[in-house]
């Protein structure tokens, strides 16, 4: 488990946000990158954890 490189995350933000029609204002970019780094670290914590056949389908009554 290693923290993602903020420069890599910044590139991801610059490339992906326009594809999602989500323009990132220049004054937000640094904060968005910092927060996305945090979320990716959180995701890393879960990736390593062995899960069984946990079911997560929401209840849907047709």
């Amino acid at each position: 488990m290693s923290a993602p490189d903020p420069a890599d995350v910044a590139r991801y933000v610059d490339e992906v946000a326009p594809l999602l029609a989500l323009p990132i204002p220049p004054e937000c970019r640094e904060g968005v990158v910092r927060n996305l780094v945090g979320l990716l670290i959180a995701g890393d914590q879960l990736r390593d954890f062995p899960l069984g056949d946990e079911e997560t389908a929401p209840v849907f009554e047709p």
């Binding site: 992906v16 990132i24 879960l46 954890f49 079911e55």
Partner: protein, 460 residues
């Protein structure tokens, strides 16, 4: 009759010894005098409140039942719909919306029981925060030290009770937003089981974890408000179709026969000594010597953070696209980051949630009540970014959810009690039980209050 005693007020009004109008006039005067220094209220409904109070008095005069909470003043976090009021949810963006055409279900039920709504209360924008440092509307101040935060996101709801403005309020709790401010302001706060109370007419945030619930100056007011709000609601798909299980009748039942344990590990580390001392004082009073360990709480917090960021961003994505700079700078970058997270992260977090729930279910086969701190430290200063815990500087705001987040992650009912102590600032202890066992929570909380171990700190 104390102004912080809702059922006491109602008893006087119901028997004609006091009028609802006089009660409401006095409460409005307290708000005028004290709220400028606290910044709890975003709207005060003077005209509506006086009209509703007059209706209660008319019912009493006509011999009709005015309701359990007749004439008791209350107020609600400004994410609840109130007929005739714009539902701000702490945002400037929503200020442009039309006024709500009807009350949220829980607001309507309280009004139906004779309680008189005095207004709407400040919060973190869209409930995304633990401190109620709202950049648009200003911070809500802690009544015990106005230089400190009230906690959040239901900060206005907690400070309005602790400041002696109203006896009880409503808040919402996604990762700790009722329990954290209840702890920092020294009052009682209930986050019921996920799905117990209707969220219909409440602005949502993290739909997997959103709960609504009461905050109060006494256990019996907390129980009365909770009991009145219970019951199925077809307009909220998450609200369970369970019968009402009243808690007021169990307040004198005591704790005999309950298996009570202290949560150790994660819940016994990462906080200041005074919060663990508070847990120990509760444990001692209840004769709880057993320790139990819930595993993988850091991962639970990580998963809850991912789910909250993803669901919150999804709810607001159109505004994030078109007017990101109208968001509070305290929430904006976190919402935008959540909108950029791949779906696989979200699904993995939901799968982990099922694993964590299964683990905790096993614990509740052998234990009825778990004790844990509510917050890792008392109220931090307004504007404070980091705080020393055990000599290590940590980010102050997210750390406030250290002990609350893993529990709301799996929808457990939790009641935060204010622990009587010598410190200048209050802290709370969480009573945690298995899903749908709220009656047990109230038995324990009432016993602690009766024995003086728990006591709300209300500004006189």
């Amino acid at each position: 009759m104390r102004s912080s005693d809702g059922l006491g007020v109602a008893a006087e009004v119901r028997t004609g010894r006091a009028s609802a109008r006089e009660t409401v006039v006095a409460a409005l005067a307290r708000i005028r005098a004290r709220d400028p220094g606290l910044n709890c209220f975003s709207a005060v409904l003077e005209e509506d409140a006086l009209r509703d109070a007059a209706a209660v008095d008319a019912a009493v005069a006509a011999g009709r039942d005015p309701g359990l909470l007749a004439g008791a003043p209350f107020a609600v976090k400004n994410l609840f719909d109130v007929r005739g009021l714009v539902t701000l949810a702490g945002s400037r963006i929503n200020a442009g919306n039309a006024a709500a055409s009807r009350d949220a279900t829980v607001v309507a039920r309280l009004r139906g029981a004779g309680a008189v709504l005095l207004g709407a209360l400040n919060m973190d924008e869209y409930a995304f925060g633990f401190t109620t440092e709202n950049s648009h509307f200003g911070p809500t101040r802690n009544p015990h030290d106005p230089a400190r935060v009230a906690g959040g996101s239901s900060g206005g709801s907690a400070a309005a009770v602790a400041g002696g403005l109203v006896p009880f309020t409503l808040g919402s709790d996604t990762n700790g937003s009722i329990r954290v401010p209840a702890s920092l302001c020294g009052i009682y706060g209930l986050k019921p089981t996920y799905g117990r109370l209707s969220r219909s007419g409440a602005a949502l945030f993290g739909i997997s974890f959103d709960h609504v619930g009461p905050l109060a100056a006494s256990v019996r007011d907390l129980a009365a408000a909770y009991d009145v709000m219970q019951g199925p609601d077809a307009t909220d798909p998450v609200c369970a179709s369970r019968a009402v299980e009243p808690c007021l009748p169990v307040l004198d039942d005591g704790t005999e026969g309950l298996r009570i344990a202290v949560a150790d590990g994660h819940f016994a580390t990462g906080g200041e000594p005074e919060v663990f001392a508070a847990v120990e004082s509760v444990a001692k009073a209840l004769g709880a010597v057993r320790r139990v360990t819930i595993e993988e709480n850091d991962r639970a917090r990580a998963a809850a953070t991912i789910i909250t960021a993803s669901e919150g961003a999804s709810l607001h994505v159109e505004d994030l696209r078109t007017r990101p700079l109208d968001f509070d700078r305290m929430t904006r970058d976190r919402f935008l980051a959540g909108a950029l997270l791949p779906a696989a992260f979200y699904v993995r977090a939901q799968r982990f949630r099922s694993w964590y729930r299964a683990q905790v279910r096993e614990i509740f086969r052998e234990v009825d009540v778990l004790l844990a701190p509510t917050t890792p430290f008392p109220a931090s200063r307004i504007g404070q970014d980091t705080i020393a815990v055990g000599g290590v500087e940590v980010p102050a705001r997210p750390m406030l959810g250290r002990y609350t987040q893993p529990l709301s992650f799996i929808g457990l009912p939790v009641l935060s009690v204010p622990v009587a102590g010598p410190g200048p600032l209050p802290v709370g202890v969480q009573l945690v039980v298995a899903p749908w066992k709220e009656t047990t929570l109230f038995r324990v909380a009432a016993a602690l209050e009766r024995d003086g171990v728990a006591a709300a700190r209300i500004v006189p």
